[in-house]
């Protein structure tokens, strides 16, 4: 299911209601989280890209993925505003409430920011989400958990995939693919975030822009979101 929304502020509420209509059977807390995250991603799309955005919802019995695509460049980043800083909390909310989220960026074309929620025994899963939310004040420091990220040492920014035959860098992590793609327990922050950059032209051939979640894109994109 996919729908386009225009470049007006009213699109935020319209996108929210569009997705809400597809989750009305889920527990209230899950509905609330989904509404909040859709609102944040729609807001970011309107504020940081020109034009409207598309919202896609992919729901199965066990998992739901919501994607918001715009034509904007740059990569949004989780920020850590102080309590008196008004802005900079949009992606933090997504980071906090989602089971998993990520960014797929295709320079000169646009980007998709998505989040995923497990629907397996949704009420049972709530304590895990609560743990994520309450632990969020730990901020967005790069995780020192190389042991749990077997790929992280070989995926530094701009250092790999130079000889990759295709001008496309797929950041999907083996650790995600080796088991259920749904992250139910709290991942090391910002381990919930996956991002994927699909360079074109010279950037793709050189591997420019590739990197692990906290190491490259998020640092480079600091200040692009609110």
């Amino acid at each position: 299911m996919k729908q386009a929304f225009g470049a007006s502020e009213e699109s935020v509420g319209q996108a929210r209601r569009y997705v809400s209509g597809m989750v009305s059977d889920l527990p209230a807390e899950l509905q609330d989280s989904v509404s909040l995250m859709v609102s944040e991603l729609a807001t970011n799309a309107l504020l940081h890209a020109s034009g409207g955005f598309d919202v896609a919802v992919d729901r199965s019995d066990t998992v739901m993925t919501v994607s918001v695509t715009d034509q904007g460049g740059g990569l949004p980043a989780v920020q850590s505003p102080s309590a008196t800083e008004p802005h900079g909390r949009g992606l933090r909310i997504v980071e906090s409430l989602s089971d998993e989220w990520g960014i797929t960026s295709t320079p000169a074309i646009g980007k998709t920011v998505w989040f995923r929620m497990s629907l397996i025994g949704a009420p049972i899963g709530r304590p895990d989400l609560a743990a994520v939310a309450t632990g969020d004040e730990h901020g967005n420091e790069p995780a020192n958990d190389d042991s749990s990220h077997p790929t992280s040492q070989s995926t530094g920014p701009g250092t790999d995939r130079v000889d990759r035959p295709k001008a496309r860098v797929d950041r999907s992590r083996p650790r995600k693919a080796s088991h259920s793609p749904i992250v139910r327990s709290r991942a090391p922050i910002p381990g919930k975030c996956r991002w994927e950059l699909r360079p074109t032209g010279w950037a793709g051939r050189l591997g420019v822009g590739s990197g692990d979640d906290a190491d490259g894109a998020i640092t480079a994109a600091s200040g692009l979101t609110r």
């Binding site: 502020e9 509404s35 609102s39 909390r89 409430l97 004040e137 609110r226």
Partner: protein
């Protein structure tokens, strides 16, 4: 005294004490309604009250746009207390780590 009746958020003063006003918000507070809501609230803060109470009983949705407004009100005044916070608003305050920043009370 109704101050502003916007399509998305209604701003109502339930106590016009200039040093500690009580303001009620109703509706959905997001990107599309935040500026009109701000316009409705700012005149009430002209005296720089040291304490503002915002009743959110009828606020059915708020995202980071609304958070930005609340933080600015908090910055411009002494202290903001939120009352009757709906679960979804509580959720966004919790997700942003701002539950402690605002004083929350269950009733008005």
């Amino acid at each position: 005294m109704e101050v502003a009746d916007q399509p998305d958020v209604v701003v109502t003063v339930t106590d016009d004490d200039p040093s500690a006003p009580v303001i009620a918000l109703a509706g959905e507070l997001d990107l599309s309604s935040v500026e009109s809501t701000r316009a409705g609230i700012e005149p009430l803060l002209a005296n720089r009250p040291s304490h503002v109470t915002i009743d959110l009983e009828k606020l059915t949705f708020m995202d980071s746009s609304g958070i930005a407004l609340l933080v600015q009100i908090s910055n411009d005044t002494g202290h903001v207390t939120l009352t009757n916070v709906a679960p979804i608003v509580h959720r966004v305050l919790e997700a942003t780590g701002l539950l402690e920043h605002f004083g929350l009370v269950a009733g008005s």
